[in-house]
């Protein structure tokens, strides 16, 4: 067996807040001074000083000391929480960004199902976009021509192939874009969370294509939050945590480890004093927890049971008009709901002004609300029309398991983020 990908000690450092801190005394003057300093910086950049080594901006390592090899023809799963470095790793492998340290050798062309539709121009027709997009993805003109009919067939838009894609429905657009990407036939295919876009039909097509690619002896890297898809499609997986590779094992073992290792963090977010911006004072978040019916902190809740959410916080001074908000959204970023602890008139009267001290706001989301999937929970503390003290849009994420939910007997995915148990009645009318 030959090695398709060999990653050696790579790390990627990002500077955070560099753009804001650079010009903090007003744009124009700083830019002019900066422009005047250009020759100096150029000299430093050209002689290899500065730039990377500068210290006065805060930085963090999105990836640190990651090494692994992938054999040709194998399918490797990559799992990890948001911010674990999965996307950064894929960006380095597909040469979009450079690692700060370390080396990678990649044998063959890297294609990605993430790139679908990149470079599509709304004014160009479907036919023109196929050629354009193919060229962007690195296909030769002759290659695109020979596969053109196949691509059009696969996309099911042959009727509209000479229509500008701005007239396409979003489904048609996605199908055409995917058709081009799917026919790239790269030696290495990278699939990043395709399950997050498109309808169920499209997702099935993506996964099917992935299976085909793997069977042809190509190498596949598959990144997903969907553990069942990872288990179904990969034999081996690596687990990333805070930019580091903490495990590589057969998929079942890696997934078990991933799900259990995070137990203390999953379903719970704890804010250390240094995580809280100073501007939040006198409000100080302490913890946010997702609990099941029995009061246990959980990462996965059942759709058929109520979900308990607890937000604990400290007020270092009394606040009038404080309201604690919960924002629930899907992993695609669509909001499902927002709710505040003083929405209820009675609650508002009682808690409009809160003394200093430690508080907890609890909410119960009734059973039979959520559909299968992963949801993101955000919190917010504000006084309406006065001030926002604290906001964390993605404080934590949890999964919803739908076993026993209405309609599961059909075993097909249901659209939409909610899956309520509706009160159906059937009557015979004649």
């Amino acid at each position: 067996m030959t090695t398709a990908i060999s990653v050696k000690n790579i790390g990627k450092q990002y500077r955070i807040g560099a753009a804001q801190t650079k010009f903090k005394y007003g744009m124009l003057r700083e830019v002019l001074v900066d422009a005047a300093m250009m020759p100096v910086r150029m000299y430093k950049a050209l002689t290899g000083q500065g730039a990377r080594g500068t210290t006065n901006t805060s930085s963090f390592w999105a990836l640190k000391d990651v090494s692994f090899d992938v054999e040709e023809g194998s399918v490797l799963g990559i799992v990890g929480r948001n911010g674990a470095g999965k996307s950064t790793l894929l960006k380095i492998l597909s040469r979009v960004t450079e690692p700060t340290v370390g080396t990678v050798s990649v044998r063959g062309r890297v294609g990605s199902l993430l790139e679908v539709g990149t470079g599509f121009h709304p004014e160009l027709t479907g036919r023109e976009n196929i050629f354009m997009n193919g060229a962007i993805l690195g296909m030769k003109n002759a290659e695109i021509e020979s596969k053109f009919d196949e691509i059009v067939d696969f996309s099911e838009v042959s009727q509209f192939i000479d229509t500008p894609v701005k007239r396409y429905s979003s489904g048609m657009y996605l199908r055409l874009a995917f058709a081009v990407a799917a026919h790239l036939e790269p030696e290495i295919l990278v699939v990043d969370e395709v399950l997050a876009v498109g309808d169920a039909e499209f997702q099935r097509k993506c996964l099917g294509k992935m299976g085909d690619v793997a069977q042809q002896g190509r190498t596949v890297l598959f990144v997903s939050h969907n553990m069942s898809a990872i288990l179904r499609l990969t034999q081996e997986a690596i687990v990333l945590n805070k930019g580091q590779l903490i495990m590589r094992a057969p998929t079942q073992e890696a997934v078990d480890f991933y799900l259990s290792s995070g137990q203390s963090q999953a379903g719970e977010q704890v804010w250390d004093a240094e995580d809280v911006p100073a501007a939040s004072a006198p409000f100080r978040p302490i913890s946010l927890k997702v609990k099941d019916r029995s009061g246990k902190v959980v990462d996965t809740v059942r759709s058929t049971e109520p979900v308990h959410i607890e937000f604990e916080y400290q007020l270092d001074a009394p606040i009038t008009g404080l309201r604690i908000g919960l924002y629930l959204s899907t992993m695609r970023g669509e909001y499902v709901l927002a709710s505040f602890d003083t929405d209820d008139a009675e609650m508002f009267d009682k808690f409009d002004s809160r003394k200093s001290g430690r508080f907890v706001s609890r909410a119960e989301i009734p059973a039979d609300i959520f559909n299968e999937g992963r949801y993101s929970l955000g919190v917010n503390a504000s006084s309406f029309g006065v001030r926002r003290y604290f906001m964390d849009e993605n404080a934590l994420a949890f999964n919803v398991d739908i076993s026993g939910a209405p309609g599961t007997q059909w075993g097909e995915p249901r659209v939409g983020p909610v899956r309520p148990r509706l009160n159906w009645k059937i009557e015979k009318l004649d």
Binding site: A19, M42, L46, G48, S94, P99, A135, A142, K147
Partner: protein, 282 residues
Amino acid sequence: MTEITKHEPTTIYIKPSKGFAALNLRDLWVYRELVFFMIWRDIKVRYKQTMLGALWAIIQPILTMLVFNFLLNRGVLNVQSDGIPYPIFSYTGLLPWGLFVAALNQASRSLTSNHNMITKIYFPRLILPVASVLGGLVDFVIAFIVLIGMMIYFKVSPAWSVLWTLPLFLLLAIVTALGVALWLSAINVQYRDVNYALPFLTQFWLFITPVIYSSSGFSEKMRLAYSLNPMAGVVNGFRWALLGSGTGPDASLWVSVAISFLVLFGGLFYFRNMEKTFADTI
């Protein structure tokens, strides 16, 4: 599935580039088809959903020429035109100037307007400004046809040498435009100030370039100072090649050529050095 080429996959090494980034023009060659596709896309899309379409390529220089002609006739403007009818004199200058300005406008935005490609796919980033600059040639050719008509009307016939001198001056125009465009596009990734500064830059540049006036009456010293602006060399060269005006290339042209290539190579190295941060900062 049809297999076109069963080639041995090449191994790519990804590592942090240190110091001087190699120019790696070979990569540009491998992706040459993409250059043509990008140019083709730019041209296809440029006049979509406009009423006048490609006519815009000639409306702009003709209107500018008419305005200056009007100002000259009313005595507002007092400039030399080397004894050549002013309409054709100014139009000949406006041609390469229009090419230059359009190239800067398109190319300086080429990276930022394609940021989704840059953050998702690897391809030589140089393709974007290069294609923008070359894409302007189509408008140039359209506007050039009008010049041929004017030359017939004003009975101006160029020497045969125009067949090789004009392409050389056109090349100089492209080299100059590309050099400046590389700087602007790379800076624009980090500082969008370029978008605001560019209109002033081109306006100011127009004044120091003999587009609407002739520099042949200038003193020797003045002309040498002028040759520091490569576009002055281009515009004078165009007039000399097409209309036979002025004295033709002299030492000052070589200064222009040298500066223009200096800007280009400087731009290439600057671009290549900034390239690795494009995806992170755009």
